[in-house]
Amino acid sequence: MRVTGVDRSTGTGGQPVYLLDMEMSQRYRHAVGSSSPFYRGLEEGVLRATRCPECGASWFPPRRFCPVDMTETAWYDLPGTGTVTAATRVHSPPPFGGIDPPYVLASIRLDGVDGGITHRVTGSETPKKGTVVTVTFIEEAAAHPLLAIAFSVRRGEA
């Protein structure tokens, strides 16, 4: 932390007011931990989920332990298709950057797993509930690895 300025003024009751401008910045090394195989999958062009060998429940976002019976799950590949539950056009960039606003964001129920993701849909049209979308892998470096994917509306199904 460092102090970059001092402001001396007077309050509404005439009392002295003293303000410090302070700055602080952090760098983090963030372990994605049990989601690591998912992130590796993104680099290989595949979306991965997990399934519980005990009860058969499938999880996306993937979970290392099945929350139902605490059994260690196994990884498998998803087809990469899904259905929109709701969509919105967002007018500010995400915190890590990487998308110029406005952009379309949708809650998507994924095929092949009992789960879903809230993610970007390409194009400027806001898809309606029930619209079928497919994952697209983006070639250029993304601001965050999760932005290496987006979803596209299947031709003729908008």
Partner: protein
């Protein structure tokens, strides 16, 4: 109920600071001290020496710039030496702190508990930094990388509500208008405004259909309540006999999947945890007809549409009819239930750790009949507070009642 039994938990004192955009003359500890001093004086006490325990409510070290702030606040209000617990529950933090105090009192662990909360959500950091910090309360692994403000998940929920029930943007814009108008009569409110539905709809777009005026305010502020058993209040609080006692009749908390995309299609446009917390709170309070028994409700209107959704999940109107109720002004001043007489988060503002406590301050003041002028909900006997974290991941409903 005509009177309360000896182990009933009463509200012995309440206090809050004004909610403002930036307190250039006070730190968070100053604000908590101001609110606590008011609450203690309201109980007729000259100090906190007779109080058994403290519960500190605040959400974010990123905003407050002080780790272990609870201990600093506890010491500031004269409770050093006494037990302390710090509570964090996102937007529900203040209400959860009241619930925690209630549990301590009901267990017999304490006979009196000072609940104090504060936050500097206002302009101590620039807007971009504030947005960045708040974005971290979405799921950092799966959500934060794709959306930066909470307008987005709220917008997804209300979009489905609109599709399913025919709710319109003009209907929830009316809530933004109502709460800012009600805040005009609250001297402690951050920003009361006289605006129209057109003003709301023509303000800057955030995440469709939400616009700037649909979003609540980020404030600096603090609030405190002194909760105590009836027996303790009678013994120690000189103001006890002077006014009708107000009890914490019930408190309930419930949770939901924090990530929106993990929720079922059926419940997607609803706050399931709010519905469950409300059902439990009403059951415990013996309320079986909320719209006719609840006189006022301080509701978590983080976005205008969230209040509309809360009408339904708090059982103040049937599911799917929140939009119609908003359009009819059914929960406006003079309505069946007055929702957010304080102005809510849209008008009174929100300093996260203080918000749920400030709601209780408003409800208790109303139930005691101490609110005068146009803001008064006359003859009110039962009031509730409603807050939630995230987009309803943790919901707390507290019920307050005045002895008849």
């Amino acid at each position: 109920m005509t009177s309360f039994s000896g182990d009933t938990v009463l509200v012995a004192g309440v206090g809050m600071t004004p909610f403002v955009g930036f307190r250039h003359d006070a730190s968070v500890r100053d604000m908590v001290a101001e609110a606590s001093r008011t609450a203690v004086a309201d109980a007729g006490l000259r100090s906190t020496s007779q109080i058994d325990m403290g519960v500190a409510a605040y959400e974010s070290d990123h905003f407050n710039r002080q780790m272990s702030l609870g201990q600093v606040l506890h010491d500031t209000v004269g409770l050093a030496g006494k037990p302390l617990v710090r509570v964090e529950g996102g937007g529900a933090t203040g209400a959860l702190a009241i619930r925690t105090a209630l549990m301590a009192l009901r267990s017999g662990e304490a006979r009196s508990v000072l609940v104090f909360g504060g936050e500097t959500n206002g302009k101590s950091v620039d807007r971009a930094t504030a947005t960045e910090i708040l974005a971290m309360s979405a799921d950092l692994e799966w959500e934060t990388p794709v959306f930066g403000t909470f307008a987005a998940p709220y917008a997804l929920m209300i979009t489905e509500h609109m599709r399913r029930y025919g709710t319109t943007a003009e209907q929830f814009a009316q809530i933004a208008v109502k709460n800012r108008r009600l805040a005009l009569d609250n001297p402690l409110a951050h920003r009361g405004m006289s605006i129209t539905v057109d003003d709301v709809r023509s303000s800057a777009p955030l995440s469709d259909p939400y616009r700037l005026f649909d979003a609540s305010l980020l404030s600096d502020g603090a609030a405190a309540v002194l909760l105590a058993t009836s027996e303790w209040s009678e013994q120690h609080s000189p103001t006890f006999a002077a006014r009708p006692p107000v009890a914490v009749l019930a408190s309930a908390a419930a949770t939901d999947h924090p990530r929106l995309s993990d929720r079922t299609d059926e419940m997607f446009p609803h706050f399931a945890a709010k519905r469950n917390a409300a059902a439990e709170a009403y059951r415990a309070a013996g309320i079986d007809d909320p719209p006719n028994q609840v006189d006022l409700a301080e509701v978590y209107d983080s976005f205008s549409g969230a209040e509309l959704q809360a009408y339904e999940d708090l059982v103040l109107c049937p599911v799917g009819r929140g939009g119609q109720a908003a359009a009819e002004g059914r929960f406006d001043r003079g309505g069946q239930v007055v929702v957010n007489p304080s102005g809510g988060l849209l008008g009174r503002g929100s300093a996260v750790g203080a918000t749920g406590i400030a709601q209780a301050v408003e409800v208790v003041s109303q139930l005691r009949g101490e609110v005068t002028g146009p803001r008064a909900v006359s003859g009110a006997r039962i009031g509730i507070t409603d807050t939630h974290a995230g987009v309803g991941s943790l919901c707390v409903v507290n019920v307050f009642a005045r002895a008849a």
